[in-house]
């Protein structure tokens, strides 16, 4: 690990910028993510910020079972994210395709797609349908510890 990467990892723990990728989620998880930014939980206390483009992101928050149409965009988003970065597989769908597992247009889980892109990727799993905001914050802490 060179000095630049060490700097980045030190910084990411204090200011993780999150880009939210929806790969076919039912929208419930997405609403729950926004809850974390609301006054009650206020993720900005830890420097967590939602950004509009993967180029600025440190953490890719992927919700949804990865449908056929969203597999390639997910790969592109991971490619477009400057390394080092982390991936969070969000919700029962993100972890294992959930109730959509046998759907005819569901291609497979987040971790399979990301691992095909980069076998070394850091992936954390947040189960729940949808996960509670407390679970999201604890997942954030664990993700950053893994870096």
């Amino acid at each position: 690990m060179n000095w630049k990467e060490r700097l980045a990892r030190w910084g990411i723990k204090r200011s993780p910028w999150v880009y939210h990728v929806n790969t076919g989620a039912c929208n419930n998880c997405d609403i729950e993510i926004l809850d974390v930014l609301c006054p009650r939980f206020d993720a900005e206390r830890f420097g967590i910020k939602l950004v509009g483009t993967p180029r600025h992101a440190d953490v890719l928050l992927v919700s949804g079972p990865v449908t056929r149409h969203t597999e390639q965009p997910l790969r592109d988003a991971y490619e477009a994210t400057p390394k080092p970065c982390a991936v969070v597989a969000f919700g029962a769908c993100g972890c294992s395709s959930g109730i959509f597992k046998d759907g005819l247009n569901v291609n497979g889980t987040v971790d399979r797609v990301i691992r095909e892109e980069d076998p070394e990727a850091i992936i954390t799993y947040v189960p729940g349908c949808p996960p509670r905001p407390e679970a999201i914050i604890s997942a954030a802490v664990k993700t950053l510890e893994a870096l």
């Binding site: 630049k4 990467e5 060490r6 700097l7 980045a8 990892r9 030190w10 910084g11 990411i12 204090r14 200011s15 006054p39 206020d42 900005e44 206390r45 420097g47 950004v51 509009g52 483009t53 180029r55 600025h56 440190d58 477009a80 400057p82 390394k83 080092p84």
Partner: protein, 313 residues
């Protein structure tokens, strides 16, 4: 008066140039985020948050998009940063060292244009349709607000007795006349647009075009752009104070100057947090009719006051 070259270098790099203005700018960014959070009943980020953001961005990988023009793409942030640092140095030396030269007001107005120009160039060079949209919006916004901003500067020049020297302008009447006050209002609105914050954050509109011209930037270039924005948050309120509110002052009056600065900053943040975003056509319309009319009235009143010797006009 023989200042050695290394003193100039110190002035430029440390105080009142780059390092000092960067620290104040980062503090201003923190005040911005904290006040925003308090308005929304949140706690907000810790004091060092802007520093963490910058350090992290410096450490991250720099990605070059496929369709980009690499040289222009990477040098545009430097152009913007250079403009912002020079403007900060100019304003700082007027306010802290009381040194200025004839015509520095004009230089300042041009330097303040460089950051926007850098954003346009960078956005256009990144070969992304979204940043192209952002760049074109930024261009239209500049066309909209530069005219009233220049008219306000002319009003100030007339009121201060036709001087182009910032030291004389600081000593001049500033906003203490009808025309000066109108020009202050116009400048405050234009500053909002120059900072590209709500209601005029049309070029960066996160929710529709994902930060516009900056969409393809990552790592160090993005960090430079963020530094530039932090510097702007220091420069533009200081610009208003220098032109209209009698400068930062000397000695103990400096405390009052700091109060003026924080007050202006909080006003900008409050406007930002209590307004929706305008569309680009609405913004251009607003600037070219209402704001320009106001600025014209201010300049006219100032000229009348100068001709007939009425000091309160």
């Amino acid at each position: 008066m023989a200042t050695d070259w290394y003193m100039y270098l110190l002035y430029f790099l440390i105080f009142p140039g780059f390092i000092f203005s960067l620290l104040v700018g980062l503090l201003a960014v923190w005040i911005d985020r904290k006040v925003t959070a308090r308005i929304q009943w949140r706690v907000g980020p810790p004091l060092l948050q802007p520093v963490y953001d910058l350090v992290k961005l410096i450490g991250k990988e720099v990605l070059l998009p496929v369709g980009a023009q690499p040289l222009v793409f990477l040098f545009a942030p430097l152009v913007g940063l250079a403009g912002a640092v020079l403007a900060a140095f100019l304003l700082g030396s007027v306010n802290f060292l009381q040194s200025s030269f004839v015509g520095d007001l004009i230089v300042l107005v041009y330097l303040l244009f460089l950051p926007s120009l850098a954003i346009i160039i960078g956005g256009s060079a990144s070969g992304n349709p979204i940043s192209a949209i952002g760049s074109s919006r930024e261009m239209k916004l500049i066309l909209a607000y530069e005219l009233p901003l220049a008219l306000a500067v002319i009003t100030v020049i007339i009121n201060a007795g036709f001087t182009l020297n910032l030291n004389n302008i600081v000593a001049g009447p500033g906003a203490a006349s009808v025309s000066g006050f109108l020009a202050l209002l116009v400048t405050l609105i234009c500053v909002q647009a120059k900072l590209a914050v709500v209601p005029f954050d049309i070029p960066e509109a996160e929710t529709e075009i994902m930060e516009g011209p900056l969409v393809e930037y990552s790592g160090l270039p993005l960090a430079i752009f963020k530094t530039m924005e932090a510097l702007l948050l220091y420069i533009l309120p200081l610009y208003v104070i220098t032109l209209f509110l009698g400068g930062l002052g000397e000695g103990w009056w400096m405390l009052l100057g700091v109060l003026k600065y924080v007050l202006l900053l909080v006003i900008i943040i409050l406007i930002k947090n209590t307004n929706p975003r305008l569309r680009i056509d609405q913004a251009v319309n607003f600037f070219w009719t209402k704001v320009t009319a106001l600025a014209l009235i201010a300049a006219g009143l100032a000229a009348l006051g100068e001709i007939y010797g009425v000091s309160w006009l």
